[in-house]
């Protein structure tokens, strides 16, 4: 059993919701990313989403776009992201890590080569923002052969027919997008998310995480009433951005994350 499945089993037995923070690799630099992963693991992250920066992030709002630009100024590529995972595993971090990417950087790296490298460094799964189920079969098969998860996205706009296709390709967990739109913090959670999670439950027994727009402990608590985990992305990335000028990025983000973590 891989780390993701184990973690969700554990959460279920403890009757707790999961907390899934997202950061962009190389923002503001790789050394900080490594320390941030270790910090997030210590601060109660159930799974960590590590973003692979991309030049044209169409699914992202301004906060994550800016983070990707900062990372790309450091010329961070897929190789660097994998190397960072390797380093935190060497440090003893056993929190599940999934790589969050657009398709082109992975395609250029090579799908087989990427899956092998993920296995070698100890990454547990991958989520591709612009890979819909119709295009996902080759990659799903390659990942499945190595017991690596392909986390699929479901949206409130997805028809039941599409949700079924999505769940058929998914492993690890399903990522339910809380609302139509790009990534970014919002003050209010839409009730579309709860409805989507209910619909997804009829197609899959996989755990379901809700993301997009979640930025506070109260929102996490609310989401975990009906979903298995909550993803916080832009709010943490914004905190990293705010901390760049400060002496200790890590310590500042630690305070923010400790206030978020539901446990």
């Amino acid at each position: 059993m891989n780390r993701i499945d184990e973690k969700f089993k554990q959460l279920e037995s403890e009757k707790r919701g999961g907390f899934i923070p997202f950061i962009v690799a190389g923002d503001p630099n790789l050394a900080a990313t490594k320390n941030l992963i270790l910090l997030l693991a210590e601060s109660g992250a159930s799974v960590i989403e590590l973003g692979v920066p991309f030049s044209d992030p169409v699914a992202d709002g301004v906060t994550i776009q800016a983070a990707a630009e900062r990372a790309l100024r450091n010329r961070i590529g897929v190789t660097d992201v994998l190397e960072t995972v390797k380093e935190v595993r060497v440090e003893g971090c056993e929190t599940p890590i999934i790589l969050f990417s657009y398709f082109n950087p992975i395609l250029q790296f090579g799908l087989e080569k990427f899956a092998s490298a993920m296995k070698t460094v100890g990454a547990d799964g991958v989520l591709i923002t612009d890979l819909v189920p119709e295009e996902a079969e080759d990659f799903r098969r390659i990942l499945a052969e190595k017991d690596l998860a392909l986390i699929m996205l479901a949206a409130p706009t997805s028809s039941d027919e599409r949700l079924k296709k999505i769940c058929d390709k998914a492993s690890g967990f399903v990522y339910a997008v809380s609302r139509a739109g790009v990534t970014g913090a919002r003050n209010e959670m839409s009730n579309e998310a709860e409805n989507l999670v209910k619909r997804l439950r009829t197609f899959t027994d996989l755990p379901i995480a809700v993301g997009f727009g979640i930025s506070t402990a109260a929102q996490i608590e609310e989401v975990c009433k009906y979903a298995d985990a909550a993803v916080v992305g832009s709010a943490i990335v914004k905190e990293i951005e705010r901390s760049i000028e400060l002496v200790d990025v890590i310590e500042n983000v630690r305070k923010f994350v400790e206030n978020l973590s539901p446990n």
């Binding site: 991309f54 030049s55 044209d56 992030p57 169409v58 699914a59 709002g61 776009q65 790309l72 010329r75 590529g77 897929v78 398709f103 082109n104 950087p105 992975i106 395609l107 250029q108 790296f109 923002t129 612009d130 890979l131 819909v132 119709e134 295009e135 699929m152 996205l153 479901a154 949206a155 409130p156 706009t157 997805s158 028809s159 599409r162 999505i166 997008v177 139509a180 739109g181 790009v182």
Partner: protein
């Protein structure tokens, strides 16, 4: 071979749909709506009537006698898309898609634009039907195509500048996609080139194929035979696919797409996606698999061209397919060659071409002298150069225009 994509929108290995899941339902809805009108006689009649009465079609096929004589080779005809309403071929697709958007009951239209021609065409058809219109345009393109920005605003459209990346067409498409994913229910994305997720490359090609159908009929009337060569510039590839498509079955017709060679062969200095030495490789960008200018990490490269309409890192997937099977050849014209052709056509024919179209003319200037006077070439004059006059004045005189 019928040159139609498969059900997932692939020509060979090129095309498909690579988008956030949120967009898949609207894209499926669009695909259903488009296939419902594709063979619908009422829709096609409405489309052709508007092209005739509103846009002034058919556009002439003009024998460029002085240019042909000057080059001393092939007999050159110009397909005069520059005479279309709004000044370029972009109006053909805008008319087609606005009729579809109306049938789908959409009230808010968004579009991206590079040179501004597609933005102007979209703003125009939105004014015609009283629909809300938002156009995304890179800040750099707004600067070099300021006249078109004013035209769009005059037509009642809101122009939103995009400051990301190189501030050109690719960045405008990203922002339009973000708007669409946020406003899926109300909004119709009127994409302007033969790009993006299926069904856009097919739909845009279909609407633009009116160019090639007319040109084929016109050359048969004038010369009683098919042309030897077709030449058209290729940015995203809509004017060229529109000219080429109705001739694809005519195996004797040679076709050449002309990409922007920019100012050099290094990545970042040009926009020639089929230029493998210059960094062009197969990849996925903005919804489709095609040739891309990218670095080794799969990050999309900055591009350069004198013409905003060709300044794009990817190319329509059907072009990638036609290149892969060798049906269409792809060549390059540099900034300097395009600028020279801009002046040549102005002086010899009294026609000021768009800088985009000047790349096609530049290639004609290169190959026509090697052809014989009984050979026929058609160059797609995709747009007129009024929008470029200030920019060209700066480049020729070395001084900013007033």
């Amino acid at each position: 071979m019928d040159f139609q994509p498969n059900a997932l929108g692939y020509w060979g290995e090129f095309g498909g749909r690579f988008v956030p899941e949120t967009l898949m339902s609207p894209i499926e809805e669009l695909t259903g709506a488009y296939f419902a009108v594709r063979d619908d006689a009422d829709f096609q009649t409405e489309f052709l009537n508007l092209l005739q009465d509103f846009s002034g079609r058919p556009t002439p096929l003009f024998y460029a006698k002085r240019l042909s004589e000057k080059l001393g080779g092939a007999k050159i005809y110009l397909k005069r898309e520059d005479l279309s309403h709004t000044g370029s071929h972009k109006i053909n697709n805008a008319v087609g898609q606005i009729l579809l958007a109306r049938r789908m009951g959409k009230k808010r239209i968004i579009a991206e634009t590079g040179a501004g021609q597609h933005g102007v065409a979209t703003a125009t058809v939105c004014a015609l039907f009283g629909l809300e219109c938002v156009v995304y345009m890179g800040d750099e393109d707004m600067r070099r195509q300021a006249l078109n920005v004013f035209r769009m605003r005059l037509l009642g459209a809101e122009v939103r500048g995009v400051g990301a990346g190189a501030k050109t067409l690719k960045d405008a498409i990203n922002e339009a996609l973000r708007d669409w994913v946020t406003n899926v229910d109300s909004t119709y994305y009127l994409l302007g080139s033969a790009l993006g997720p299926h069904p856009y490359p097919l739909m845009v090609r279909d609407f633009q194929s009116v160019i090639g159908r007319e040109a084929r009929r016109q050359i048969l009337e004038k010369e009683n035979r098919l042309p030897d060569v077709l030449v058209a510039c290729v940015g995203g590839g809509s004017n060229s696919i529109g000219l080429f498509h109705p001739f694809l079955v005519d195996e004797i017709v040679r076709m050449i797409g002309v990409e922007a060679g920019g100012k050099g062969n290094n990545l970042g200095e040009h926009a020639a996606r089929f230029n493998k030495a210059g960094g062009g490789r197969i990849g996925v960008l903005q919804g489709t698999k095609s040739y891309l200018l990218q670095n080794d990490d799969g990050q999309i490269a900055l591009t350069h061209s004198i013409s905003a309409g060709l300044d794009y890192a990817s190319v329509g997937p059907e072009h990638a397919f036609l290149q892969s099977i060798g049906r269409v050849e792809y060549a390059m014209a540099t900034d300097d060659e395009a600028l020279a052709a801009f002046q040549t056509l102005s002086e010899t024919e009294g026609i000021i071409p768009a800088l985009e179209s000047s790349h096609g003319i530049a290639h004609a200037v290169k190959i026509a002298p090697e052809m014989s006077p009984d050979e026929i070439m058609i160059v797609n004059l995709s747009g007129r150069g009024d929008k470029d006059v200030n920019q060209v004045q700066e480049m020729i005189d070395g001084t900013p225009s007033s």
